[in-house]
Amino acid sequence: MRTSRRGFVGGVSALALASGSTSAFAQKKYDDGVTDTEIKIGNTNPYSGPASSYAAIARTIDAYFKAVNEAGGINGRKIKFISLDDGYSPPKTVEVVRQLVEQDKIFALFQPLGTPCNTAIHKYMNQKKVPQLYVATGASKWGDPKNFPWTMGFQPDYHTEAKIYAKHILANVKDAKIAVLHQNDDYGRDYLGGFKEGLGQETGRIVRTVTYEATDPTVDSQIIQLKDSGANVFFNVSAPKAAAQGIRKAAEIDWKPVHYLNNVSASVAAVMKPAGFDNAQGIITAAYIMDATDKAWDDNAEMKEWRTWMDKNMPSANKGDANHIYGYAVAALMTETLKRCGNEMTRANLMKQAASFQKYRLPLLLPGITVSTSATDFYPIQAVQLQRFKGETWELFGEVMHAEGS
């Protein structure tokens, strides 16, 4: 019985081979989570809790994949996007990710959000050899293909960005005396670390470092302390609310340093406008992605396409929320990565495709910024461009800057 069945199967295969229709048939290789009609992609996001505003990213990604499915899917397969709430709590992330990997048998985990949450599953994902792809955090530890070949970042990391500011200061400001304000957490410290590395032997130029807590109602006293230090450069590592307050306060007490603001707070609507356009003139920041509230992009084709897409797929969403831009762009990258996998839907191939982008143009990135990865470079977007605030918009200047291998 057994032999005859085997013989039968063998016969069929031989027939299939002989008939020459094998090219599509034989190349199909699937890992867990993929069938002829479906690809299961997992995700974790904070739908509840203090960080829940970030969940707009997962909602945008969900809408993006739905739109892709309606248009026929990727190589004939529809994406099943399973996004679970972890409340930005690492133990909960471990729990839901194990559910996704072991129970739901997802093909890959895409855009899990938060530095502590991703840290908690970092080892696990690499032990299980399930891709932890394009993670939503700016920490610098995600591009380590040697030790963690199944994890890849997405956005330029804070470390790199800060290094670029440091280089720019050294090259352009004479006798720089630098004052630093940073949020007292990993995000703030990652920036500070990169900044110091960028200054190299000139770290002594930092004359004052002051921190604030994310929960502080104002940063007024910090700004006054920084002014007192006599600094002529201000490196401002603060989240949107504190950034707006800081810019306003500095103008109020008539402190006019060369002001470098971290990209986290580059939103025109959320920071510059509340701070007062007059107070914000001349501020320098680095950017890699377009700001929907910046009028400079109103006539841009990609921005127009995004607006139409938003009207159609997420009509009730606030278009001023930068998370929608971010979610759209990263979902586009994931879709392209899956497309490039063709019919070889294995996890190894997914990582291989993710690591072989050559200057790929992703919608809504700044002109001239592209996605490049390689077997040793797991930082997809590494370029930023400096921009200066003028009037009511950002004005790009200088070249697109690439970080030299970090």
Partner: protein
Amino acid sequence: MTSSKKWLWVLIALAFLVPLLRPVLPDIVSDYRLFLVSTMMIAAIAVLGLNLLTGFNGQISLGHGAFYAVGAYTAAVLMDHLNMPYWATLPAAAIVCFIVGYLFGLPALKLEGHYLALATFALALAVPQILKYKWLEGLTGGVQGIVLNKPEAPFGLPLTEDQWLYYYILVVMVLLYWAAANILNSRSGRAMMAIRDYAIAADTMGIDTALYKTVTFGISAAYTGIAGALSASAIAFVAPDSFNFFLSIKFLIGLVVGGIGSLIGSVVGGIFYVLVDNSAQALSTFVKNDLGLQFDLSAYTVFGILLIVLMYLMPMGIVGGVYYLVQNLRSSMRGGRARQQAAEKQPAAR
């Protein structure tokens, strides 16, 4: 040996045998499910600790997440800096948390009821910030937290990590449960409950209320701290974000849902919390996608509705409710007089 005790032994035996079925029924007894049950047991131990304080001693705590965090960090720091084996961290975490709990219990003596609830609330808010403090950063890793290794089965036992973790936590839970049952069944336990029921009367009878209250605080903190230490091993990572304020509320929900002043209730409460927390999300997506209803219910809305329904149907918690049902059934079989007796007995249920 009463029938309820027999059932307890059967349950424990089952709890020990079921994971061994993993090779036979890999889909049902999966590593993920064992891990989930492990987290339930950890929650149960933490709720048990809170129950000793709130249920049996009448002191309200909204801040047990703080002791959980201290336990977890004690274990993590010892493993990370001193390379201590994971099992040796449990007594250390228990001792550290006992001391912290005892010291916190001293000022708590002056505070009753709502004031104590507020003071413990402040503790729960403060601890994650303290963990980030720069003087402690070298030890705690600051906001980055500490990444640990998962415990592996010793002596070459043919168990997976999750199976081993399950047994490890199960043994700890059974031991702690046994210890708690014995404490409560002793002179000290009766003193604890006497204080809960009527502090002045207890004082008059010669019970040192201050001592008992502070020591109970310490023991309660030690239990919750052990749960924290176990979670550090199970999750293999600690960070201040892991111990947000909602954790303390979670223990309180487990306590109330399981049954205040009931040991079995603590275990039920811990299991309930993890189970419902997980299924609430599945239920909310089910309502939206499969039933096609237009309500965009968040998981927490579902969770809240479930809680309200449960509190309405079983105001004494699950264990109290089940006990009440069983008594009712029995007495309706025996007739009216017994029913009356059961109704009188009910308030003392545990």
